[in-house]
């Protein structure tokens, strides 16, 4: 039985999205900047996608910029703000458990003369708000945090963080990487008090290479990609119309009956965790996000367990998939102070609404069979 439990890495594209994209690529292939009819039709797809996403985020269409994905959205938000505000200050605050597209961008800015303060987390992965308060300074221009942690699924208290920042100085820009939250949690950046918010298409059954950055109306962000002036010059380059159309539809479909979907996913996650933690020396490190389960199988290296599961058609992640070609101990797992034996034996199982109870039970049974065999052979 094939079990794809790696939905936090990427998801299968919705069939409706696939069909729409094929239509855009084959028939409505115009350049949205073209003056003729073909261009007008292409432009309509973009407007429609923006309207769909704006509806879900309860924001204005003009506050959305389409990008090539979560990584570009994060880069544009962080570098774009740093460039726009460098005269007011060069201090940035972020957490120590951010995705590489945030942490590596911070490292880049540090080399360019910015100063970055990293705040810690508790053993659940929740940001230390006291640390945040004391990190804020007169020259702080930007705070960047994630919404849902991609490795363990912690949901961060975004609204509280925003309040702390804005109480201190309302000019500080607050960016949220919502790649793992969008489509799973209902929220509005305006209500949360967020100025910039990153979204990725392929985590919500949309196409890879699609993403959005929400930029609060009138907020100053300097573009990082220059050219023909598309998207009000915030992100030049001919719009990826099929991907944008696909992303818009995926967002709409994802939020349709969202409560039912999430209830189902959450039930799967809980059933799975109950099942596997019943085995000896198996530990649950998961946060509250409905779709992410982080489990340590002490005594079995995560890679070995991953490949053994793969052999049984169960597909999961060790640490974070985006960086699994470099074996490193996950900085998230280290930050929540997992003991060494759990650091090297942790797997991430991430679910979607297409997963079934049968798949969960099959996975539990398979793990139950594999554990004693794999534990016999350790170095």
């Amino acid at each position: 039985m094939e079990c794809y439990f790696d939905n936090a890495a990427t998801t299968a594209v919705f069939p409706e999205v696939r069909e729409l994209m094929v239509k855009v690529m084959g028939e409505d292939y115009g350049n949205p900047s073209s003056l003729h009819m073909k261009g007008v039709i292409a432009e309509k797809y973009i407007k429609e996608a923006a309207s769909k996403i704006a509806k879900e985020l309860k924001c204005q269409e003009k506050e959305l910029v389409f990008t090539s994905g979560g990584t570009e959205s994060n880069n544009l938000a962080i570098i774009g703000t740093a460039l726009a505000k460098k005269r007011q200050g060069k201090h940035i605050v972020c957490s120590g458990i951010e995705h590489a597209s945030v942490s590596a961008t911070m490292e880049f800015l540090e080399k360019e003369g910015f100063e970055v303060t990293y705040i810690g987390v508790d053993e659940k992965g929740v940001f230390d708000l006291e640390e945040l308060k004391s990190a804020l300074r007169e020259d702080t221009i930007l705070v960047s945090t994630m919404f849902v942690n991609n490795e363990i699924g912690t949901i961060e208290p975004i609204e509280e963080i925003s309040k702390i920042i804005k109480d201190y100085n309302e000019n500080i820009v607050y960016h949220v990487d919502a790649v793992q939250a969008f489509g799973k949690i209902r929220f509005s950046p305006k209500k949360l008090g967020v100025d910039l918010l990153s979204i990725s298409g392929h985590k919500i059954h949309g196409p890879k290479g699609s993403g959005v950055l929400y930029i609060k109306d009138k907020l100053l962000v300097r573009p990082i990609i220059h050219g023909g002036g598309q998207q009000k010059a915030m992100r030049s380059g001919t719009e990826n119309v099929p991907a944008i159309a696909g992303l818009g539809l995926a967002a709409e479909l994802m939020y349709k009956d969202n409560e039912t979907k999430m209830k189902h996913i959450k039930a799967l996650k809980e059933r799975f965790l109950r099942g596997v933690t019943a085995f000896e020396n198996v530990f649950d490190n998961s946060g509250a996000a409905p779709h992410i389960a982080s489990v340590s199988f002490v005594g079995v290296r995560s890679e070995v367990m991953l490949h053994s599961l793969e052999d049984k058609e169960i597909y999961v992640s060790a640490g974070s998939a985006c960086s699994s070609n470099k074996p490193h101990v996950s900085s998230v797992l280290k930050a929540i102070k997992l003991p060494q034996e759990r650091l090297e034996s942790t797997l991430r199982f991430s679910f979607c609404e297409d997963n079934t109870i049968e798949q969960i039970d099959y996975a539990i049974k398979t793990i139950g069979e594999l554990l004693p065999v794999l534990r016999r052979y350790t170095r």
């Binding site: 070995v304 490949h307 074996p327 052979y377 170095r379």
Partner: protein, 393 residues
Amino acid sequence: MQYKVFLIKYAEIGTKGKNRYVFEEAMCKRMRNRLKPHGEFEVRREYGRIYVEAFSDYDYDEVIKVLGQIFGIVGICPVVVVEDTAYENISKSLIEYIDSEYKNKNFTFKCHARRNDKTYPKSSMELNCDLGADLLEKFPELSVDVHKPEVMIDIEVRNVAYIYSKVIPGPGGLPVGTNGKGMALLSGGIDSPVAAYLIAKRGVEIEAVYFNAPPYTSERAKQKVIDLAKLVSQYSGVLKLHIVNFTDIQLCIYDNCPHDELTIIMKRLMYKMAEELAIKDECQCIITGESIGQVSSQTTQSLLVIDSAIDKIPVFRPCIGMDKQEIIDISEKIGTYETSILPYEDCCTIFVDKHPVTRPKLEQILESEKALVGKIEDLYAKAMESVELVYCR
């Protein structure tokens, strides 16, 4: 300037007496094959030399790279061809060539002219003197040194004239396929591809074997070995890679033998399998990347015990006396280093004991291996039956 002709220099083949033809032809064949995707070329042997002539546009760097991967070639000389051999033409072309090829003219040179066409109005000696004088007149910074010139300028006059002075070093060695066949053990590390390269360099055709251990090693580790085999095949020609599923054998050793002897016993079994595969495919040697003392299984004592596992075929270890850095230098030169250092575990490192034996005794190992009798035979046969073949090119 697009060179139309390359003169190929080769050294050792020239000493092979009556077999010389075989060696030259093997090398030419390989050149024709490798050049095919890069344009229209003719590779020809004439007057005891090998020339590559281009009949279409080509990318200079690509062609030099390809020729630089063909064993047997010692040097590659880009040649300027002068169609009209009238003296004035040769002189003019020579001056243009020196002008464009050497920005800084502050060097010593010597003209070395030869004429195939004995009816040519000037003798070789006269050509040397006159062309040298023309160059000196045009570029006063030049000076002549007939004993130790910094630049030797060759001029060959036949139905057309050839001018060349630069030699781009080739890999040397002997043309692949002129010296039998060997079975290389590829692990995915730095040393084994270098070992395969060094033996291929002596004209030996290469096959390889990789021991895969899923789920303890990943699909990517296997892909890495295939990629390495492809890189080696650029030098050695198509490489037949045997992929053996070794997991059950490894687990059987783990269950039955002392853990500090695992690596030694495992390698003895790998050698046995490699020997069997080698004999089946008519190889005359096994090739490994071991270097004395690099790890516990590469002490002289360990090598002795491992070697004793086989008795029909010799093991060639071209890296045996090299330091790690020397091996790394070669791997960088041949382009395998970047792939070798990708961090995927190979089956040798998975069950490594914290304190493996460094001075194993054969009697002791044979004693330990008795525990495998009756258990390992089926697993061994099963692994040999299910060998996966990948042709890397």
